[in-house]
């Protein structure tokens, strides 16, 4: 088993990541007003939010450099969170107005 620790890695370019995060935030701000299609707007804005989360978690929280133990810990929680939201969706699908 060849696990690594976050501090064993070279420091990521934090300032560059910060600039990307700020750009994505401003981008999502403008994208929300650009498209007529609501579905497209929702998809794009949520994709940007996911990209920002990946950057913060990956580089600022050092998830990218951590060992498998972290994934074993967090992925079940993420799956359960997704299942929770999905399990609520039939409430919308079968809603009678």
């Amino acid at each position: 088993m060849s696990e690594t620790r976050a501090e064993d890695h070279k420091e990521p370019p934090y300032l560059l990541i910060a600039v990307v995060l700020l750009t994505l935030t401003i981008g999502s701000f403008f994208i929300s007003e650009q498209f007529e299609s609501r579905l497209l707007t929702v998809l794009l804005v949520m994709c940007i939010a996911t990209a920002k989360t990946t950057l913060v978690a990956g580089f600022f929280m050092h998830v990218k450099f951590e060992g498998a133990w972290l994934y074993a810990l967090t992925i079940p929680a993420v799956i359960l969170a997704a299942v929770l939201v999905s399990a609520l969706l039939p409430d919308v699908a079968f809603l009678v107005r």
Binding site: S2, T25, S32, A49, A57, F60, L73, A81, L84
Partner: protein
């Protein structure tokens, strides 16, 4: 393995932990936090989609410029936090204190803006249970009961999600102040516990930032 969360083999053949117990614990805590906020966000999505066109126009209720600015403030605080962590790993405690101080300041700016937003909402009678919303809806010729139901639903979602997030920010700020107090008292040093503390509150703070990264578009943009 008795008191270590996870271990791994180094090149020299000995074993050392892949993570300290404290780091393992904070990640366990964050895993539960993922579930907590997923429940809030999931419920919001279901209520929002289920309400259809009767959901209030969020752009009329919330100021997305303020929300956007607060997002930038929180991201900036995440950046200064990561620099504080980087400094403490190099045992540069003064630099760490400076970055942590800026992070704390930005956290208070976020809370101040949030307080300003909340004050505006109460001033305009936008809160759960406000009968003023029903009267306003009736004046516009809308189905008053339905409008009340939906406005209140949105108000409840807004205050619950942003309120719990703000409580998390507040919690982080309290720990920041404790660390800054230790530094000011000259009691912060090279102890593994102190270094680990800064790393772990950093992880917590970044998580709080991630939650806001999703709350901002959901509440203010979409």
């Amino acid at each position: 393995m008795a008191h270590q969360a996870a271990t791994h083999e180094t090149g020299s053949g000995d074993w050392r932990p892949a993570a300290t117990n404290a780091k393992f614990a904070i990640w366990l805590f964050l895993a539960t936090e993922i579930m907590f906020f997923a429940a809030l966000i999931g419920t919001y999505i279901v209520l929002r989609v289920g309400s259809g066109s009767s959901w209030p126009n969020q752009h009329e209720v919330l100021n997305k410029n303020i929300g956007g600015f607060n997002t930038l403030v929180l991201i900036a605080s995440s950046v200064t936090m990561v620099f504080a962590h980087s400094a403490v790993m190099k045992h540069q405690f003064r630099k760490m204190a400076m970055f942590l101080g800026v992070t704390t300041l930005l956290g208070f700016v976020f809370m101040g803006i949030k307080a300003y937003e909340y004050a505006g909402k109460f001033e305009h009678h936008f809160y759960p249970g406000s009968t003023h919303l029903m009267e306003e809806a009736a004046a516009k010729g809308l189905g008053a009961a339905k409008a009340l139901e939906m406005q209140n639903l949105f108000a409840s979602c807004y205050f619950t999600m942003t309120g719990f997030h703000a409580l998390h920010v507040l919690g982080g700020l309290v720990v920041f102040l404790i660390v800054l107090g230790l530094v000011a008292a000259g009691r912060f040093g090279k102890r593994e516990f102190h270094i680990s503390l800064v790393e772990n509150i950093g992880l917590y703070w970044h998580f709080v930032d991630i939650v806001w990264i999703f709350l901002f578009p959901l509440l203010y943009l979409l």
